[in-house]
């Protein structure tokens, strides 16, 4: 082995271990502005999540009266007065794009507020930790309980905690199902054993995922499973808000009672910021991938600074540019308008305008026309040529409608529709029930000498009897080879 390669080998093999085992985190409770904000967000979002399926919305007889419902069997998506049919699912895509760009914009401006305040993983973990604290006590008691040998007390506390978690998980999984089936009905069916195995199965699945992700996996979801923390660094710049530790002010750190106190920075090394952290990191090491931006360390540090009569915001919700400015004694900067925020805002605006336009000008009628392939055409006994079509009229309005079907630029053609017009006419009246698809067998016949080519291009015209609105569908008419 050449000598230069020798020198590159690390000195100890332990440095090269490829696996980091998880250290169980016991976050300490904390009070403060951000904690209160987080509780508020938690209450609002959980109330919305559990409550929304129970909201009613009258759509008339024969339709579900649930305000928000993804009706799989009925193939409809209901959102208050909006009703989406399967072929309009692109509205959902639009919604997802708005969500994504909105997330980019918020991240650029204010950092990981989604992660820290409103992500379901954070919310449910917070809720599960609250329950844990109620049953097992705060950080120190939990650490003690962890280290304690097996006892009845420990067994009771552990059982109670996991039972409470499972109950919350069941409520969470159950509420998810309610977005897909009528909430009051499924609740009764669920507890009387009448619900389908699909419902029990999915409830069990979502109960299990809630329990595992919020109770057991916790910060590992954010650190290892979620892709979002890994690439949102691309949205940060020096003006984005992050959790900052003002090293120039805090360091060198030392205990309050240290003899050298006058030569030390503001940080008294109380470790509270580490103890309250739900992901178990030390923010004083600077911005890290694991930091979800929950701001609880700010509350923790501020409470200590307050007690010691020092300036707050040693740890702060701040931008790097701002922090550097203060360090150098320059005035604070705040740049909201930056090329990337402009770009995100514009694309967000564009998609939103498209969505609003799409929804407001949404057609309540769609025509599907299929020409028979076999036979391509039929010769009738008097020599006329006839083509067959299957016409589907999707009436997406909540009222029965009557239409006139005619053909444009083909005056010799006669239309007959099974069940409506037997002998053939230039216009046939069809009716379609409210919120339904009408399927019609349409035959078009024309004398041979009126057909100029093998294939005659023509157009079906459907006129709504009530408002005279016209929908058109291009098609063709086949005849014998010439």
């Amino acid at each position: 082995m050449p000598p230069e390669q020798q020198t590159t080998t690390p000195e100890t093999d332990e440095d090269k271990s490829l696996y980091a085992s998880r250290v169980k985190i016991h976050p300490q409770s904390v009070t403060g502005v951000f904690r209160r904000l987080k509780w508020l967000v938690l209450i609002v979002i959980l109330a919305l999540y559990y409550g929304l399926p129970w909201l009613r919305w009258d759509r008339g007889a024969g339709s579900p009266d649930q305000a928000i419902l993804a009706d799989m069997t009925g193939r409809r998506l209901y959102f208050f007065n909006i009703e989406i049919w399967p072929q309009e699912i692109y509205y959902l895509t639009g919604l997802l794009i708005i969500g994504a760009i909105g997330l980019f914009l918020v991240t650029t401006l204010a950092g990981r507020v989604w992660c820290g305040f409103s992500c379901p993983q954070t919310l449910w973990t917070d809720l599960f930790m609250l329950v844990e604290r109620w049953i097992e006590g705060d950080r120190n008691k939990r650490l003690k309980l962890d280290a304690a040998p097996f006892s009845l007390n420990k067994l009771w506390k552990r059982t109670a905690k996991h039972a409470a978690w499972l109950l919350i998980a069941l409520a969470t999984g159950g509420a998810w199902i309610m977005y897909f089936v009528d909430a009051p009905t499924v609740t009764v069916h669920f507890f009387t054993g009448q619900a389908s195995s699909t419902i029990y199965g999915f409830t069990a699945l979502f109960t299990a995922t809630t329990y595992v992700l919020a109770g057991l996996a916790r910060e590992q979801v954010c650190t290892y499973m979620c892709p979002w923390p890994r690439f949102q660094g691309a949205m940060f710049d020096e003006d984005s808000l992050i959790i900052t530790y003002e090293e120039w002010r805090g360091e060198p750190r030392g205990k309050e009672k240290n003899k050298e106190r006058d030569n030390l920075g503001d940080c008294v090394d109380c470790n509270l910021c580490v103890n309250v952290c739900p992901t178990g990191i030390d923010i004083r090491q600077g911005q890290q991938m694991q930091c979800i931006g929950c701001a609880l360390c700010i509350d923790a540090c501020d409470s200590i600074m307050d007690k010691l009569g020092r300036e707050p915001k040693l740890i702060a919700y701040d931008s790097i540019a701002n922090m550097n400015a203060r360090e150098e004694g320059r005035p604070a900067t705040k740049r909201l308008i930056r090329p990337r925020t402009i770009a995100y805002s514009l694309s967000l605006l564009l998609v939103m305008v498209l969505m609003v336009y799409g929804l407001s000008s949404r057609a309540d009628l769609e025509i599907n026309l299929q020409r028979d392939r076999a036979p391509l055409f039929v010769t009738l006994s008097d020599g006329d040529i006839r083509n067959g079509y299957t016409l589907k009229i999707l009436n997406m309005a909540r009222l029965d409608r009557v239409f006139d079907l005619a053909i444009d630029d083909f005056p010799e053609a006669l239309i007959s529709v099974i069940g409506y017009e037997k002998d053939g006419a230039s216009s046939v009246t069809l009716s379609v029930k409210a919120d339904a698809v009408g399927t019609f067998r349409v035959f078009v016949r024309a004398p041979t000498d009126s057909i100029q080519a093998d294939v005659t291009e023509m157009r079906f015209v459907l006129t709504d009897r009530k408002d005279g609105k016209i929908s058109e569908q291009d098609s063709s008419f086949y005849g014998p080879k010439r």
Partner: protein, 288 residues
């Protein structure tokens, strides 16, 4: 493996293989995986005992649970029949016209008839009854043996020139082979037949053929050539031709006629299926 090398970082044994300085660690299968295999083996033995498993020369090992997929299928089929009985009972007792007038029953007939047609009829009549030379188009408005629902049902049930006792049949005479007409007379009558749909070229031949037609053909095909559904005499005055409408084809059909055969389906399809497929054929575009 007397001299097992251990990796200095992980403390794990290596396989002794080395590629460009990279050594492969000897990582055995995880224990849980191994035990899953063992459990599967135990499960498999239990399965042999409970369920049908090994083949033998005369049959197979039946298993103590007495399970049979064939029996399961039979059970499912009985259940299916049960669920269909609300329809099939009415099909059995009602006439085809009554069924055709009931939209719900008609829908049921269409759903089944489509598949019955595709399996049994489409090989000759083409998909959706598009027909072929010698095999009537079922989507047009010309019917040799009648196009009402009852007519179609009768044709499906008993066939045409089939071996069934109730079959309808007729025989177009072998005019040339049996020396009823001479070759010249046949050509003249062919010219006349062509004139019925306005495609004749030789006026003199048409005049000569007219007399022959009235004498030899009109009893079945009608005096004006418009056919006779009762006798199954095809309409010769329309645009639809089973064996083609050029002169050669018509001469051939008079000289040595092809006589198509439609099998009787009463043995193969049950009463309900016959009604379903007849209603489907009726819906193809030509039903009367």
């Amino acid at each position: 493996m007397a001299n097992v090398e251990k990796d200095s970082i992980t403390g794990q044994e290596t396989t002794g293989h080395e590629w460009d300085g990279i050594k492969e660690l000897n990582t055995p299968m995880p224990k849980w995986w191994l035990y899953t295999y063992y459990v599967s083996i135990v499960f498999a033995i239990g399965y042999w005992i409970v369920y049908p498993s090994w083949p033998s020369f005369s049959g197979y090992l039946k298993g103590i649970a007495g399970y049979s997929s064939r029996a399961e299928l039979d059970k499912d089929l009985v259940a299916l029949k049960q669920s269909r009985s609300q329809w099939s009972d009415r099909f059995a007792t009602m006439s085809i016209d009554e069924i055709g007038a009931d939209q719900q029953l008609l829908d049921f007939a269409m759903a089944g008839g489509k598949f019955i047609f595709a399996e049994n009829c489409a090989p000759c009549h083409g998909s959706a009854g598009s027909g072929a030379v010698g095999y009537p188009v079922l989507a047009d408005d010309d019917w040799i043996w009648g196009g009402t629902r009852t007519d179609i049902e009768m044709t499906v049930r008993y066939g045409i020139r089939s071996e069934h006792d109730d079959t309808r049949s007729n025989d177009m005479p072998n005019f040339l082979g049996d020396e009823i007409l001479s070759r010249k007379q046949i050509e003249d009558s062919a010219e006349y037949v062509m004139s019925l749909f306005g495609d004749a070229r030789d006026k003199q031949a048409v005049m000569r053929g007219q007399g022959i037609f009235q004498e030899e053909c009109s009893s079945c095909h009608g005096e004006d050539g418009s056919g006779d559904v009762e006798l199954g005499g095809p309409n010769l005055a329309d645009a639809i031709w089973l064996y083609g409408n050029d002169k050669d084809a018509i001469v051939a059909q008079i000289s040595k006629p092809k006589r198509g055969m439609m099998p009787a389906w009463s043995g193969r399809l049950n009463d309900i299926e016959i009604k379903q497929v007849s209603l489907y054929v009726h819906s193809l575009g030509g039903g009367q």
